[in-house]
């Protein structure tokens, strides 16, 4: 798998960035986002407080995940653990199928 970045934005769009690809779509059109968000939220560090509202959630490849909450204490970063590979791959596949072919 080539390097990728996935942003899930709180305002309602999800974006995938790969080499020569930068594609956004409405999160409501994707079925694989919410399971991924739920799984990452379940991995949050114990000191994270506040609700699960977020400004953006980002996956840098499989091993760096960044949850930017609506405030500092509701934000966290997990590095070096590729625990969500299957869910990430499912979202990538779903988004890739939506990318317009030139």
């Amino acid at each position: 798998m080539e390097d990728f970045t996935i942003h899930i934005f709180g305002y309602g769009e999800t974006q995938i960035i790969k080499k020569d690809v930068n594609f956004k779509t409405k999160t409501s059109d994707l079925t694989k986002v919410q399971p991924l968000l739920d799984a990452l939220w379940a991995e949050k560090p114990e000191d994270v407080t506040g609700g699960d509202d977020f400004q953006s959630v980002t996956f840098f490849n499989y091993d760096l995940k960044q949850w930017l909450g609506k405030k500092d204490e509701a934000s966290f970063r997990i590095k070096g653990e590729d625990t969500l590979v299957a869910l990430i791959d499912e979202l990538i596949a779903e988004m890739t199928a939506l990318i317009p072919q030139e």
Binding site: T5, F9, I17, D20, N22, Q55, F60, K70, R77
Partner: protein, 399 residues
């Protein structure tokens, strides 16, 4: 000290011959005569020494001067010390103890338990050092190794338990450093690893330069995986992108080609190329040519050239979108901008621009403000281009 020419001859006489009173009183008073025993008594020789200027085990071509050991190589020399071995042809051990010069043209000057086993390798001193690569050099220190191929040229200048294991690899000093690929270099520090060709680490602790021609100046636990990547210092930074750069800070990542993170913490510049983060914390520049100046929790992800100058929790995800600052602003449409304020969104409307707070764009090619106060408004339409506004006696007019 006078050197007696090698062709000079000596006359000796038997013990009974008078050698003192053979001239005038004055001449006799200036004359002294010595025996061979006097010479032996004058020059101290350790009891265990095999002797002074003794022929080595290598035969007439080897020389063992003072001390114990074996000069067994052709034209090999041991000048002193104890338990040294010069077994390679043309090898030399200057002194010290238990040193070994075992290959052609090798040299150990001193110290103890040092080994020069690579052809033409040299150990200057120190202890337990091994120069096993061809032309390898260890100047001193303890437990250092300079290995490599037959042509080698690896160098460890000093320090403790350093290993330069590839041809032309160099370690200046420090401890437990490892330069393992061609032309890799570590200046010093502790537990650093230069594991790609031409990789360089200046110092610091636990740094890894694994990208070809990558460089880490110092700091700790930094990693340059990208080719020609550079990290100046800081801690826990990763420069994976080709030609990527991190100046310092902590836990920053520059994974895009030519990506730059100047400093701060937990920042990620991952854009396809040329993404830049000046500083701040937990900022992301993931689009091509994207830029975040500072602040925290900002994301510039637009396809090209999205920009966030600062502030907190801002998102610029539109093509060429821009946010000046403020908080919780979203420039999600192409060519849109938000000057500052908070909780603004350009939504899906391209070329929409917001100056204010809590505004959401609702049409394209439009600028949105909360309120507008125009200062020094013209009082005449004279000379104004179409679309300009002017104050017509307290009434706003448009040309």
């Amino acid at each position: 000290m006078a050197i007696i020419p090698s062709t000079q001859k000596f006359h000796t006489v038997s013990a009974e011959v008078e050698t003192v009173n053979r001239g005038s009183k004055t001449a006799n008073s200036r004359r002294e005569a010595f025996t061979m025993q006097d010479i032996i008594d004058t020059v101290p020789v350790p009891p265990s020494s095999p002797g002074l200027f003794e022929e080595g085990a290598g035969g007439a071509t080897s020389t063992q001067r003072v001390g114990s050991g074996t000069a067994s190589g052709g034209y090999s020399t041991i000048s002193g010390g104890s338990s040294n071995a010069a077994s390679g042809n043309d090898s030399t051990v200057g002194g010290g103890a238990s040193n070994t010069a075992s290959s052609y043209g090798t040299s150990v000057s001193g110290g103890s338990n040092n080994t020069a086993s690579g052809q033409y390798s040299v150990v200057g001193g120190g202890e337990n050092n091994t120069a096993s690569g061809g032309n390898a050099v260890i100047s001193g220190g303890y437990n250092n190794t300079a290995s490599g191929s037959f042509y080698g040229g690896s160098t460890v200048s000093g320090g403790l338990r350093n290993t330069a294991s590839a041809d032309y690899a160099t370690i200046g000093g420090g401890s437990i450093n490892n330069a393992s690929q061609l032309w890799s270099t570590i200046g010093g520090g502790n537990s650093n690893e230069a594991s790609a060709s031409r990789a360089t680490i200046g110092g610091g602790f636990d740094n890894t330069a694994s990208g070809i021609s990558s460089t880490i100046g110092g700091g700790r636990t930094n990693n340059t995986g990208g080719q020609d990547a550079t990290i100046g210092g800081g801690e826990g930074n990763t420069a994976n992108g080709g030609n990527s750069t991190i100046g310092g800070g902590e836990n920053n990542t520059a994974s895009g080609d030519r990506a730059t993170v100047s400093g701060g913490g937990n920042n990620t510049a991952s854009g396809g190329y040329n993404s830049t983060i000046g500083g701040g914390r937990s900022n992301i520049a993931s689009g091509f040519d994207s830029f975040v100046g500072g602040g925290q929790y900002n994301v510039a992800s637009g396809y090209f050239a999205s920009t966030i100058s600062g502030g907190n929790f801002n998102t610029a995800s539109g093509y060429y979108s821009t946010i000046g600052g403020g908080a919780s602003n979203t420039a999600s449409s192409d060519y849109s901008s938000i000057l500052g304020g908070s909780a603004n969104s350009t939504s899906t409307f391209a070329n929409s621009h917001i100056v204010g707070t809590n505004i959401t764009s609702d049409r394209i090619n439009c600028t949105f403000v909360n309120n507008l106060s125009i200062k020094s408004i013209p009082t005449s339409a004279s000379g104004l281009p179409s679309g300009s506004v002017w104050n017509n006696g307290g009434v706003l007019n448009i040309v």
